[in-house]
Symmetry: C2
Subunit: 409 residues, 2 copies
């Protein structure tokens, strides 16, 4: 008789976004004339850059002609033209990532979820709290145990490694797999090179692997801040990096990202042999993935051309200006916050000691603005709130005006 994976039965349902949707729908039903402003979901709103659209259409045309039609990709790792472009992009900000260590995917979420397959279920996983829920769920689904590194006001929501280790079931342990995200979702905090180097040193000392989520790297404007973990010496021996074009180039509906598993990264098998994680990952993907749509890969390639980078940076600047407006409002209102600079997220303390959901309700009901309650991202998110800069400029300005008015009462 078939047996289900019982780890799934222990998962929490994704109450956060279901609950938000329910509350928003109820509000809309009772306030049909309200002009709702959504700043909750991290989805982009500007259209694709013209070079990207053109590249996709040109590739679609190629697929309609026998001589230029493309079927299965040989390896499924991504066409060389795109892997070369990504490698060149890394080089442009000082990270040396060879093409052969890059795999193209249909968005970072797939790889983020699937990468854990190459690790044993007995690994202990560290997640910073608050964090993107996929890190937690992907591991609970395999029955792995988790420890949490506190990101809170005391460290500006950028947790650093704890040399003494972390408590799991009453025992001090060092985690085997470490999830880091910088610029951080949801807190907008960004690790400095020194801070990231501390994590790399910790991983090297304890034989851990870092899964580094760089999905928001394009929002970094301060050249001193690392956009890739591979800007840290020694990272290639301990870190996998996941990145995406979703926020960089508005690809949330196009679906394309990339993952780097360096050739230098190995783990020790139980018989003492050194195993290449890149080989394991390629084996996994070879059996369970058949590559990304050719027109999508051509669209992604166009992002990394000179003209493409120019066009996507116009969009990024638009969102950065929204972030500036939100951050400026927080400063004026004397509300503590992180993010807003080098990040599309603004993470702020709910005024008057309100809890996250109470503040959510207040904003929704009094000024028709939707955000995300920090408590949805972990216990340290309680009392905090996330707004995103991916909306319309006019709506963002209007939402901040409403917020000022609400809080000045």
């Amino acid at each position: 008789m078939v047996k289900v994976n019982e780890n799934y039965l222990k998962l929490e349902k994704n109450y956060l976004f279901i609950r938000i949707a329910e509350k928003v729908n109820a509000f809309k039903a009772s306030h049909p004339d309200a002009t709702l402003i959504r700043m909750g979901i991290g989805d982009v709103t500007l259209p694709l850059a013209p070079v990207v659209v053109d590249a996709m259409k040109k590739a679609a045309d190629e697929m309609g002609v026998k001589e230029t039609f493309r079927g299965y990709e040989d390896s499924g790792a991504g066409y060389d033209f795109l892997r070369q472009a990504v490698s060149g992009y890394y080089k442009s900000f000082g990270a040396d990532v060879p093409m052969d260590d890059i795999r193209i995917n249909d968005g970072a979420k797939s790889d983020c979820g699937n990468l854990v397959d190459i690790f044993g279920d007995d690994n202990i996983v560290l997640v910073t709290d608050p964090a993107y829920p996929v890190y937690v769920d992907s591991n609970l689904m395999s029955g792995r145990k988790l420890v949490y590194a506190d990101s809170d006001e005391s460290n500006n929501f950028a947790a650093l490694p704890c040399e003494e280790g972390y408590v799991l079931d009453g025992v001090m342990v060092h985690p085997d797999i470490i999830y880091l995200c910088s610029p951080n979702n949801p807190t907008g905090s960004v690790y400095t090179k020194e801070q990231l180097a501390a994590w790399v040193a910790y991983a090297r000392a304890h034989g851990s692997v870092i899964l580094f989520d760089a999905a928001y790297e394009a929002f970094i404007t301060d050249a001193a801040l690392p956009r890739s973990i591979y800007q840290i010496p020694g990272a290639k021996e301990v870190a996998i990096e996941m990145c995406s074009l979703s926020k960089t180039a508005g690809f949330t509906g196009v679906r394309c990202g990339y993952t780097v598993v360096p050739s230098e990264l190995t783990a020790t098998a139980s018989d003492g042999t050194q195993v290449s994680l890149k080989q394991l990952w390629n084996r996994r993907e070879g059996s369970k993935f058949n590559g990304v749509s050719y027109p999508v890969q051509r669209a992604a390639e166009a992002v990394f051309t000179d003209e493409g980078l120019k066009q996507i940076h116009e969009n990024i600047r638009y969102y950065q200006e929204n972030a500036r407006v939100i951050a400026e409002t927080m400063t004026a209102l004397e509300i503590p916050f992180t993010g807003g600079i080098n990040s599309p997220y603004i993470w702020f303390k709910c005024p008057d000691g309100m809890d996250s959901w109470a503040f959510f309700d207040k904003m929704l009901n009094e000024i028709a603005v939707v955000g995300t309650p920090g408590a949805g991202f972990g216990k340290n998110g309680e009392g905090w709130f996330r707004l995103t800069a991916f909306g319309d400029k006019e709506n963002t300005i209007e939402a901040m005006a409403r917020l000022r008015k609400m809080l000045s009462k």
Copy 2:
């Protein structure tokens, strides 16, 4: 210290296609003037249908305009317009599959590999032999034990369930998860409704789940043969179906398929509660998948329009004609074979009792035709050989002429 998934270390390397590529490359180096004809890989060669190209370009244009831009899909299960189209397609050949039970994916290989995540690692898996290697590898990666149902000359390479069960480690067992593929890759055999009903009855009797791979359903011309397992009464309580546009509409480079997990399909958890597999699968995909590219979904939708179906059927008929030419040659040469009708694959017995690899070498070296040795698909494939009908018409005719000449010597 990080621990790898040691199940990966027990996997065989994919010797089959590596070995074929090595032999072909060596032949090309020593015979630079030979006109090689490839009939080994199951990849299509005809371009996309015009309506598909147009739909993709139109959607790309929409993505370049703010008012029609689309970001994240709400559920990631596929847009309603496409799920409705797939549901209507099922209805056209007599299968009742509601839209809500369908999830759109980036090609059947991903779902085929990932579906096993929702099942416990202690399930016993049945695979027919010979079979598509992904069924085996996906389960070995999770440490599951396998039993094999022999597909061989005695049953026309269409294994039927064995009521006594299957031997695993010296004990008779009934498998919990059963992989079936019809029309079959590699053997081209097609289950009749009665045969498929026997598998459904077996699964119902033993609480098993069938994972039914219908990737080649579009090649069925005999209206009496089932194109979906849901044409069998009672299948919805025991079967998941995976299908793809790769062969139906030449989407091997576009990447789109669909999986059906019926609402009726449940499993019993260890505490006795009934669990919906559809809910588990949606939970898995919700955390690890973010949906298919919008322009790709529009391209797929176009396949199921009247004009789209007309255009893709022209391509299918082209391949069917190739299959007919190959089958006719086998008949003329008095070589036993399966497939060729209702299937793009022709599976034939190597002449003169040759083993698969010896015949591969003979065909390559004497007539410069590449096929796939049956031994690569399992032990029952030894002494058999697979040719595909996805090539050029002229090349197919030429290859068959060369084969006749080779065997008449």
